[in-house]
């Protein structure tokens, strides 16, 4: 099986994107359809998305033809300018090993270069050795290890306390 296409996501893909996000994530923070739809396909998109689609005769065991996605957005680094930030990247297990992931990464890099981004950044959990190897094989650097960057998060509850001060 090598037959798949990569294309820009459309608003009709939002239910598939939500399904893939839920499958790929461990934990309790789950997105809502309405937010995903409005945030991606409203007047001011907060993210961009590619999907990988297979023909109907190669659909998944549950009947899905959208089998992978990548969610990204443009952000800014005060030292180097425009950046492409890869937020989510997932291919369904039964469709791995066919080059879909590699092709998605290639299209993302082409997008980054075309839009004059200096770099593509993303985060990976350190126990996700499979993903880390995938990226490192392709030339990615681990900035947490090499330069000491640590990711910090301030949750909504704490943010509200800060606004009150």
């Amino acid at each position: 099986m090598a037959n798949f296409i990569l294309r820009k996501a459309e608003s009709k893909d939002v239910s598939d994107i939500l399904r893939l996000i839920k499958v790929s994530k461990v934990g309790d923070m789950v997105q809502h359809f309405v937010d995903l739809l409005e945030d991606g396909f409203g007047d001011h998109p907060f993210y961009h998305c590619f999907v990988a689609e297979v023909p109907k005769d190669q659909q998944s065991s549950e009947g899905y033809t959208v089998v992978g996605f990548a969610m990204y957005y443009f952000t800014y680094d005060p030292w180097i300018g425009k950046l492409l930030y890869l937020e989510d990247f997932y291919v369904m297990e039964e469709f791995r090993g066919f080059g879909i992931g590699s092709q998605i990464l290639k299209v993302l890099s082409e997008t980054a270069v075309k839009t004059r981004c200096s770099s593509m950044h993303f985060i990976v959990a350190e126990n996700n050795t499979q993903s880390i190897d995938f990226y490192k094989r392709r030339g990615a650097s681990d900035l947490s290890l090499e330069e000491g960057w640590r990711l910090f998060a301030i949750q909504k509850e704490e943010l509200l306390k800060i606004t009150a001060k």
């Binding site: 290639k106 270069v113 990226y135 960057w149």
Partner: protein, 138 residues
């Protein structure tokens, strides 16, 4: 200490660039700064801006003095903007040796998710990015 926090204007880019360099120098990476006020002006103040910026300004008579509470006010304004846009979380990176900053953020309720959840920052840039963009299908 009399100061005000306001949205940055195109004219502020020279000052922002100066402060970016000061922060990069503090971060021991001044050579990593590749853009100047010109790129900031182009990328932040066109019809399709790639970033938003707040600046803190003191009146003439207070210039060159140390600030007090300015950092806290900037954070507060950022949190307020996030609240208005219904954001769920504020995420950012800090260098592991930067204890004053680490302390500042932890005191405000920030969690080090590299420590607690093992998240690492990765990057494709320069040659690696070009190579990826050009390579044939696997």
């Amino acid at each position: 200490m009399n100061f005000k926090i306001r949205a940055a204007k195109k004219d502020d880019c020279k000052d922002i660039s100066r402060m970016i360099m000061e922060l990069a120098t503090y971060g021991k990476m001044p050579d990593e700064v590749k853009i100047s006020h010109k790129e900031l002006e182009r990328d932040g103040f066109s019809s399709n801006p790639f970033f938003q910026c707040l600046v803190a300004e003191v009146p003439e008579e207070n210039k060159s003095k140390e600030g007090q509470g300015i950092g806290k006010s900037l954070m507060s304004k950022v949190a307020q903007l996030g609240k208005e846009k219904q954001c769920m979380r504020l995420q950012f990176a800090v260098l592991d040796w930067n204890t004053p900053s680490l302390d500042f953020y932890v005191a405000k309720g920030a969690q080090d998710v590299t420590a607690s959840e093992g998240w690492h920052f990765l990057r494709f840039d320069g040659e690696a990015l070009d190579k990826l963009a050009n390579e044939a299908e696997d």
